[in-house]
Assembly symmetry: C2
Homo-oligomer: 224 residues x 2
DNA sequence: GTATATTTGCGTATCATATACGCATATAAT
DNA sequence: ATTATATGCGTATATGATACGCAAATATAC
């Protein structure tokens, strides 16, 4: 009676590139939902922790190694999987997409990035899981500087601004946004400048994680 | 290999009464950790959803029926349970403690409320689970009006204020706090007044849930 | 009965922060 | 040389947070 529930992990991994937020999906090799797109994930092994299971499955099915990972939610409805009772612990991850070459194997035929506005039909209850992950991303970005996980180590300020307008889905005043971020002192301005097409060249910035943790310890919140 | 992981739910249920925040615990009847205090909870049955499992276990072990319940976090470290690999989905609940007479049965010898500042030694990793739940409670109360779940239907304003000072662990200006809550228009002022000992009698208030959901839909956040 | 302590209810002054927006500067395209 | 575009810096105004004063209504002490 107790021992018939199976346990899986699934990962909703977001990437960002020049105004595009995408999710990492795999094409299933086996039944059920053979040939359908799904979140990377699979069964938890008895001798590994949950985070290890997610990282292993991600690595196996997509070749991606994650730099930011947190637990999202556990989905356990009785009928969510046709194979029987399967409870899945979903994780939420962020990577810089151009940092990895996708490489599918084991249970996946293919691994691909999909724009979150143009997702294919998804297996199981994965559509719902992605929706909840998107809400988490949008909510979280307003009070924690997780956005930096999606940008290159060194980036022009306009990249950060573009990321925020994309994620929040609304315009933000460029000058006030810069004032706010600058006042937090979590960015280091580098000497180097870059010119992107037209316009005055801008400085490159990098995220000062040390400074951020100091602020966080002191109880200061990052708020947009 | 797949089928040896077992699944449980645990509930961290908070109650509040006149300046005291307490957690509901049960004394274990069987091994492991026989006679130790632990969170109410137990194995998930194959044909019930996770929320149903929590509510069933709470009802069986303590007699409490919950009015506010949300998922907290899933704990899955390999060695967290001496019986083998047991993954537990923890829930977070709020009740008005005087609304129920505690009644232990099945796996519990006893069920009792404990002040969060004076908890006994707990079984498994339940101390950690309680800590995370307390952080969630303190964080959540500043941006969602969950505090009302802990008060009677009709309450004097000073009860709400006391609850917040207790939960936040700091003094708040009584007049500014009232202005802030009043401006949200989520409270209905009733005609009735109560006198608690000395001092001018105050109106009773009730929480207008309908109005709150309207505000929430419109994107307005409750913030202390 | 009168004075005092206590709690409630309502107000206003001040300070900090968010928002709106003006404008000079440095580059690419025409 | 001119125009379009992106950057960098500034200031005025509106909004909201905080500090705090004080009258009203009650219980308690004398």
């Amino acid at each position: 009676m107790k021992n018939t529930i199976q346990l899986t992990v699934d990962a909703v991994v977001f990437g960002y590139e020049s105004g595009n937020i995408s999710v990492l999906l795999v094409k299933r090799k086996y039944e059920p939902y053979k040939n359908a797109w799904a979140l990377p994930g699979g069964f938890v092994l008895e001798n590994e922790n949950l985070e290890q299971a997610v990282e292993r499955e991600l690595s196996e099915e997509t070749g991606v190694k994650i730099n930011y990972l947190e637990q999202l939610y556990t989905f356990g409805d009785v009928a969510r999987d046709p194979r029987g009772r399967v409870v899945s612990i979903a994780y939420f991850g962020l990577v810089k997409p151009n940092a990895f070459k996708l490489h599918a194997s084991t249970d996946a035929q293919k691994a691909e990035w999909f724009n979150i506005a143009q997702l294919p039909k998804l297996a199981f209850d994965h559509k719902k899981i992605v929706q909840i992950a998107i809400e988490r991303l949008q909510g979280k970005i307003t009070y924690e500087p997780i956005g930096f996980e999606l940008l290159d180590k060194r980036f022009p300020f306009s990249d950060l601004e573009k990321l925020y307008t994309t994620l929040l889905g609304r315009e933000i005043d460029r000058r006030n946004f810069k004032k706010k971020i600058t006042s937090l002192k979590v960015l280091d301005e580098l000497d180097e400048k870059v010119s992107k097409g037209r316009g005055r060249p801008g400085s490159l910035f990098s995220f000062n994680q040390k400074r951020y943790f100091q602020l966080k310890k002191a109880g200061i919140i990052f708020e947009i």
